[in-house]
């Protein structure tokens, strides 16, 4: 290796050191927040009992709550938070549009339309029925948007907005005509992590895990694409292939997250902006940071959703909406619109 090469490598390592430190710090924070979230809820359970429930399960009410209600819920928050945040980072990179979020692919509208249609026709009853309908609806909507808008980011965004408008309008009309369908949709329409412990989550969570790994593997190629298609071509990146793969990842990540938790806005839009500065223009770091910060944001919001009311819960989507606005304004003011 030449002297110049060694110098460049050393400089790169120096740049990466604080980023690695930040990532490790984020992971530690994520672990801490996850543990705290398992200890927080409507029923007061001592930390000792929480630990005992995890390590020495006896089947008492406290242990059931920790193991069968809170722990799966924390796991779901981590998966959904990571899925939404990473899909947000991917769509913003792909569309080169800082205001893009996963819903722009029509995923949320597709899931909502499918649940409305399914309820009207009677096959979206129960959690499994709703989950299945939401998965099918979101995937079909995203595939349609991707098929029509795959050639350019602008076309992709316009197609997503148009399809969202059409599906939302038709679904609204159906709900207005069918009160029971409206009821079924109402329960799903405000995203929540509550009561998902009885839903069949194995497949959606596996899909999310696989796609998160896929996003990391694709991130270097996206780095080139972020510089523009011409530069990406020059660097040897297969633009069409990378874009198609990114669309698949965004579709599955946001579709699975929306299917299991309902629409949770702002996480996909907000989290990438919060980590854009430390990522310093690197898509791999952006993906890694969003993968850690997304779960942290959702876990904190979910804890808030559990303790805000004296009885019952506030859906987590309401809390993220309250957190999302101020956090986004803070990010814009802190880093400037240019960085977005």
């Amino acid at each position: 290796m030449t002297v110049a090469g060694r110098t460049s490598e050393a400089a790169g390592e120096r740049r990466a050191a604080p980023q690695i430190g930040l990532l490790v710090g984020g992971l530690v924070l994520l672990a801490a927040v996850a543990v705290v979230s398992i200890g927080v809820g409507a029923r007061s359970i001592s930390p000792t009992e929480v630990v005992r429930a995890l390590l020495d399960y006896q089947g008492t009410d406290d242990h059931v709550i920790v193991r069968d209600v809170r722990a799966p819920r924390a796991l779901l928050a981590v998966a959904v938070g990571a899925a939404l945040a990473v899909s947000g980072a991917l769509i913003q990179t792909l569309a080169r549009n800082p205001l893009a979020e996963p819903g722009i692919l029509g995923v949320t509208a597709g899931a909502g339309f499918a649940i409305t249609l399914g309820s009207g026709l009677g096959f979206a009853a129960g959690q499994a029925g709703q989950l299945g309908s939401a998965v099918v609806g979101s995937v079909l909507a995203a595939l349609l948007v991707a098929a029509v808008g795959r050639r350019s980011p602008l076309r992709l965004v316009l197609t997503g907005v148009a399809l969202t408008a059409v599906l939302s309008g038709v679904a609204l009309g159906m709900r207005l005509m069918l009160p029971d369908t409206f009821d079924a949709y109402r329960f799903w329409s405000v995203g929540s992590l509550a009561a998902r412990e009885q839903a069949p989550l194995a497949w959606p969570l596996t899909a999310i895990a696989v796609c998160l790994v896929g996003a990391l593997l694709l991130s270097r190629a996206l780095n080139a694409l972020a510089l523009g298609e011409t530069v990406a071509h020059t660097l040897g990146a297969g633009v069409g292939r990378v874009r198609a793969m990114a669309l698949v990842l965004i579709t599955v990540l946001s579709g699975a997250a929306t299917a299991v938790a309902g629409p949770i806005l702002f996480v996909g839009l907000m989290v990438p902006h919060l980590v854009r500065k430390p990522a310093a223009g690197s898509v791999p770091w952006l993906i890694l940071y969003t993968m850690v910060l997304g779960p942290i944001v959702l876990l904190v919001a979910d804890m808030g959703s559990r303790v805000l009311l004296p009885t019952g819960e506030v859906p987590v989507a309401v809390v993220t909406a309250f957190l999302g606005g101020p956090m986004l304004i803070w990010a814009v003011r802190r880093y400037g619109a240019g960085s977005l």
Binding site: R43, V69, A125, D183, S192
Partner: protein
């Protein structure tokens, strides 16, 4: 019919109670006897109405009451939620009487009301929902009395008041007497078992998506008729709210052991066909439910027709309760 009513209606009922302060509890009517009219105290004030109405239009909760009381109906609103609780004869009447309004107050067809030429209009909706109705326009057609729902168990007084306004107390009292006789018979039948049990109830309006369940206490929809049969429901809401919120609450599933752990027996609402509604199924599928002493002792009882708000439909609820509680007599 689904047990789950639209949230809008439930919210409206709750809001109505907040705003009216349960104002319809004043059920006295003041008969003047002059010119065939009398002054009637309703949610919308003291209204001069015919002493013996001949052509009545009824909406909302007043519909099943008026049908049971054989009021001289010339128009009613749609009342699909109550169809499964109507007797064959009442259902035939319900289908036969012209519909002058839909399920919602906003769906009032003023021209159809006018065409019916009523001499009295009885509106059985909560006071805030009255804002969705052009009451002045209705008043230009006939006197309007609004007698809306309050706490669930108050259907007895409210239905009496509605039947009174329509001058149909005779038939109303006959059905009421049958109900009370049936309830007394059940109370006698279960007197050695029911009063000794501390009971709790899981209602059908919990929101599964929020991880909550509906815990109903005495005087609520799921409990008030069972109480007539001698059941004793323990506990009260943590924070009293308006309307049904005074007698039921929506805690997190995590609070299930705390909420129902002391119950000797648990009743739960089911659909008219006996199927378990999704919010109740969510509770029953949890391990916390299976840990409850009452569940371990196999003292859980489904109750159908918990939405009954008339004496006639209440008798079906009593029959359902009798059928459900029957195993208690063999223990």
């Amino acid at each position: 019919m689904s047990l789950r009513r639209s949230s809008g209606l439930v919210g409206a009922v709750a809001l109505a109670l907040a705003l009216t302060g349960c104002g319809s509890s004043d059920s006295k009517s003041d008969s003047s006897g002059k010119g065939g009219t009398r002054v009637f105290a309703a949610d919308n004030g003291k209204i001069k109405i015919p002493a013996d109405p001949q052509r009545v239009v009824a909406t909302g909760y007043a519909v099943p009451v008026m049908i049971e009381a054989h009021a001289p109906l010339v128009g009613i609103s749609s009342w699909k939620r109550g169809e499964s609780m109507m007797s064959k004869k009442d259902l035939a009447t319900y289908k036969k009487v012209p519909k002058v309004a839909g399920e919602l107050a906003t769906e009032t067809n003023y021209e159809a009301v006018a065409e019916a030429e009523p001499d009295l209009i009885v509106i059985g909706v909560p006071a805030p929902v009255l804002g969705d109705i052009d009451v002045k326009r209705l008043e230009s057609i006939a006197p309007v009395v609004a007698i809306g729902p309050t706490v669930p168990s108050a259907w007895r007084e409210l239905s009496h008041k509605q039947a009174d306004a329509a001058g149909s107390l005779k038939q109303f009292d006959a059905v009421k007497a049958k109900y009370e006789a049936k309830a007394a018979k059940l109370a006698e039948k279960y007197k050695d078992v029911l009063p000794q049990l501390k009971m709790g109830h899981v209602g059908a309006y919990g929101e599964t998506a929020k991880g909550t369940f509906q815990r109903e206490f005495g005087s609520s929809w799921g409990t008030n008729i069972a109480e007539d049969a001698g059941a004793k429901y323990y506990g009260k809401v943590k924070k009293k709210g308006p309307g049904s919120r005074a007698v039921s609450e929506y805690p997190s599933l995590e609070e299930l052991p705390e909420s129902l752990g002391k119950a000797d027996a648990i009743t739960y609402s089911v659909n008219p066909d006996g199927s378990v509604p999704e919010p109740v199924k969510y509770v029953m599928d949890s391990k916390l439910w299976k840990n409850l002493p009452a569940v371990k002792a196999k003292k859980t009882f489904p109750i159908r027709y918990t939405e009954a708000a008339t004496y006639g439909s209440g008798m079906q609820t009593l029959d359902a309760i009798d059928k459900s509680f029957a195993p208690l007599l063999n223990r």
